[in-house]
């Protein structure tokens, strides 16, 4: 049981800082934000360049334009969400200590 074991090795400040930075750098919301910004811009451009041709297929809706704008908005919302509420430091640091606890628990199980 991990929770019963005391964790001997506490993570150093340096380790914590690095983990926090890397966790936040690759937050899924940033990846999603970037992906949808790119998709949105591409789709909007296609909609602007080929607007007339699209209309025959869609029956009059400039779907690339609308979908492109919607995806840009979605992408921006993801980026704003990421900016406004980054993953809390406690959560990230908790993972570090939990990892140690898991290793300790595993060692304990192994020696049993």
């Amino acid at each position: 049981m991990p929770e019963q074991l005391s964790v001997d090795r506490r993570p150093t400040e340096e380790e914590k800082r690095r983990l926090i930075a890397s966790t936040r750098r690759f937050d899924l919301r940033r990846i999603l934000g970037a992906l949808f910004l790119l998709y949105g811009v591409l789709t909007t451009i296609v909609g602007l360049v080929h607007g007339a041709a699209d209309l025959t297929k869609t029956g009059g809706i400039a779907i690339n334009l609308w979908a492109g704008i919607a995806m840009i908005v979605l992408g921006v919302l993801f980026l704003i969400w990421d900016r406004l509420s980054p993953v809390p430091e406690e959560d990230i640091v908790k993972i570090l200590t939990q990892e140690d606890a898991n290793e300790a628990a595993d060692d304990a199980e192994g020696s049993r």
């Binding site: 049981m1 991990p2 890397s22 690759f26 899924l28 990846i31 999603l32 992906l35 949808f36 790119l38 998709y39 591409l42 789709t43 296609v46 909609g47 360049v49 080929h50 041709a53 699209d54 025959t56 297929k57 869609t58 029956g59 009059g60 809706i61 779907i63 690339n64 609308w66 979908a67 492109g68 919607a70 995806m71 979605l74 993953v87 809390p88 406690e90 959560d91 908790k94 993972i95 939990q98 990892e99 898991n102 290793e103 595993d106 199980e109 192994g110 049993r112």
Partner: protein, 567 residues
């Protein structure tokens, strides 16, 4: 060449005319997926990181992954096909056949799962009952999952061949290689991140399809008018024709069978015990997030029919005859989404939709593979083959098991290509695994008297009973005197018979065998010991909108409300 040709759109088949922009979107997506695999790899330090993302993920991610693991492309294409074929009755699969079970998982079962710190569903079987039922459960899950991965791989290859013109073997090998790469690198984290991305991309692809489709049939009123005209409007109701003794609905079952068979037995069996989904909740960062995982997943589930069933209805209205295979159209109901994409989506949004479909095919397979490697490594290898090795050993085994699982999947896919009937029967067989497992778990959770022997034999009897019903049904169909109206009705009754069998066998055997002591059952049975629901809570978990009871109630209310327009 940037625009799809209109001539092609009216032709037969579902070949899509992709421009370089569409291909660019596909390439970018899969580059990101592999990139995530490499990033995730730097964070995989222990087997827990690999198999359960180190139990570190926030609830919105695990919740969306929970629903995406189920939202594979076979599911999307299949549900749209149902929409075209049986219309609004398809809503049962999204509403009564999903939401109550997901709420039950979050509110009632997750506390037992998460608090016992088990790493897989079979491991809960081990903790509650012991080795014998655990071995059966773990083997059944591992074997069925790796084979299902292969069957899905084959289903994907057929669609990719039809849409993009790739030969089947190429589609199989390329997609398996992608799944292999990102799961071996980053484990469950890679799988989950990809599932969440895939969720948003497939929605971004299907929403424009639904909007354009509705526009082309002159809106909702135009659609209903067209369906009244061509199909006498029977596709527009979910509950009509389900009264007992007077069954005229396309599922061929009365309301009691739908509520008990689909809404209770099948759906609770699938959503509360299928480790492929439940694993996503196990990877949540704490008890609160784990409980919210299926509840957050239930909210999008409620609305997904808008972008699957409605396109199916549009297909029924516009090309209903062709979809039923009339006039050598080369189409089946399963081709309704790709066909509508070909007809209605111009380059640009078409790229998004194709990316979404490809991603959800792979996410579906990755979900199977990532739960298979966990069960194989923890429940079979660590428990019965090589005990007491270092964590690094199990992490290594997990990676190799992933490779082996994908290879077996590829092999299965090629066998499926040659022997589709066998595969259909296998899939039916696997569908018998969940309902009895739920029966065993729910009795075991509520009744501390239930014993190991009872669990083992009631579980096995619960698998054999529906298999017997299925065989009887097949024979009766061959004799042209079917004992159930449709194959779907057969599964509903089969599942109910399965759980009934479990209950009888479990009670009888429990009464004549020795029960476990209360001490061994702490936190594993309702009322024995106490489960701490708030011990690991973090700041913010107490916000009113994060209350599991509230989320669950909202989901249940919506589940009823969404039926109202289509009674």
């Amino acid at each position: 060449m940037l625009t799809g040709t209109v001539v092609e759109a009216t032709g037969n088949g579902i070949r899509l005319d992709l421009s370089w922009v569409d291909y660019l979107m596909i390439i970018v997506y899969f580059a990101v997926v592999i990139g995530i695999g490499f990033i995730a790899r730097t964070r995989v330090k222990s087997s827990m990181d690999f198999f359960l993302s180190g139990r570190s993920l926030p609830a919105w991610i695990t919740g969306l992954a929970f629903i995406s693991a189920n939202l594979g492309a076979t599911e999307i294409l299949g549900m749209a096909a149902n929409g075209a074929q049986i219309g609004m009755s398809t809503l049962h699969y999204y509403l009564i056949g999903a939401v109550p079970a997901m709420v039950f998982l979050g509110l009632v079962m997750m506390p037992f799962y998460y608090a016992s710190r088990v790493r897989s569903v079979p491991e809960f079987m081990l903790r509650r009952f012991g080795k014998a039922p655990h071995i059966v459960n773990a083997l059944a899950f591992a074997v069925s999952n790796v084979l299902i991965a292969g069957i899905n791989l084959f289903a994907m290859a057929i669609v990719i061949e039809a849409m993009l013109g790739w030969p089947q073997w190429l589609a199989i090998v390329v997609s398996a290689a992608f799944v292999l790469a990102y799961i071996t690198l980053g484990g469950l984290s890679s799988a989950i991140y990809n599932e969440v991305m895939q969720f948003f991309v497939i929605v971004a692809g299907l929403v424009p399809l639904t909007i354009v489709g509705l526009n082309r049939v002159h809106g909702w009123s135009g659609l209903t008018a067209a369906l009244e005209r061509t199909q006498s409007g029977k596709l527009l109701h979910a509950w009509a024709g389900t009264s007992i003794g007077d069954v005229t609905n396309p599922i061929g079952a009365d309301w009691l069978a739908i509520v008990l068979g689909l809404g209770f037995v099948l759906s609770f069996g699938y959503w509360t015990t299928n480790f492929t989904e439940v694993q996503r909740a196990f990877s949540a960062k704490n008890m609160s997030a784990a409980r919210r995982t299926p509840l957050i997943g239930a909210l999008p589930k409620l609305f997904i029919p808008i972008i699957t069933v409605i396109p199916g209805l549009i297909g029924a209205a516009v090309i209903g005859k062709a979809l039923s295979g009339a006039g050598h159209s080369g189409l089946t109901y399963n081709s309704v989404i790709p066909k509508l994409m070909q007809m209605y989506l111009p380059s640009g949004v078409l790229g998004v939709a194709v990316t979404g479909l490809l991603a959800s095919f792979m996410a579906g397979m990755a979900a199977n593979v990532s739960s298979f490697n966990t069960v194989f490594t923890y429940d079979i290898w660590q428990r019965y083959i090589k005990r007491d090795r270092s964590d690094a050993h199990y992490l290594r085994v997990g990676r190799w098991v992933t490779v082996a699982g994908v290879l077996v999947g590829i092999l299965t896919a090629f066998i499926a290509a040659g022997a589709q009937n066998i595969m259909t029967y296998l899939q039916t067989l696997f569908s018998f695994f969940n309902a009895p497992l739920f029966g065993v778990f729910i009795i075991g959770l509520l009744w501390k008297r239930m014993t190991t022997t009872a669990a083992l034999w009631s579980y096995i009897a619960g698998i054999l009973a529906p298999a017997a019903v299925f065989t009887a049904y097949q024979i009766s169909v061959a004799n042209k005197a079917p004992i159930f109206a449709t194959a779907t009705a057969e599964t509903l009754y089969g599942a109910m018979i399965s759980v009934g069998t479990v209950a009888i066998v479990a009670v009888v055997l429990s009464l004549v065998t020795k029960a476990k002591s209360d001490r061994e059952l702490q936190g594993l049975v309702y009322g024995v010991g106490k489960i701490d629901l708030k011990g690991d809570a973090v700041v913010g978990d107490t916000a009113w909108y994060r209350s599991p009871a509230l989320l669950g109630s909202v989901a249940l209310v919506l589940c009823v409300v969404l039926y109202l327009p289509f009674l």
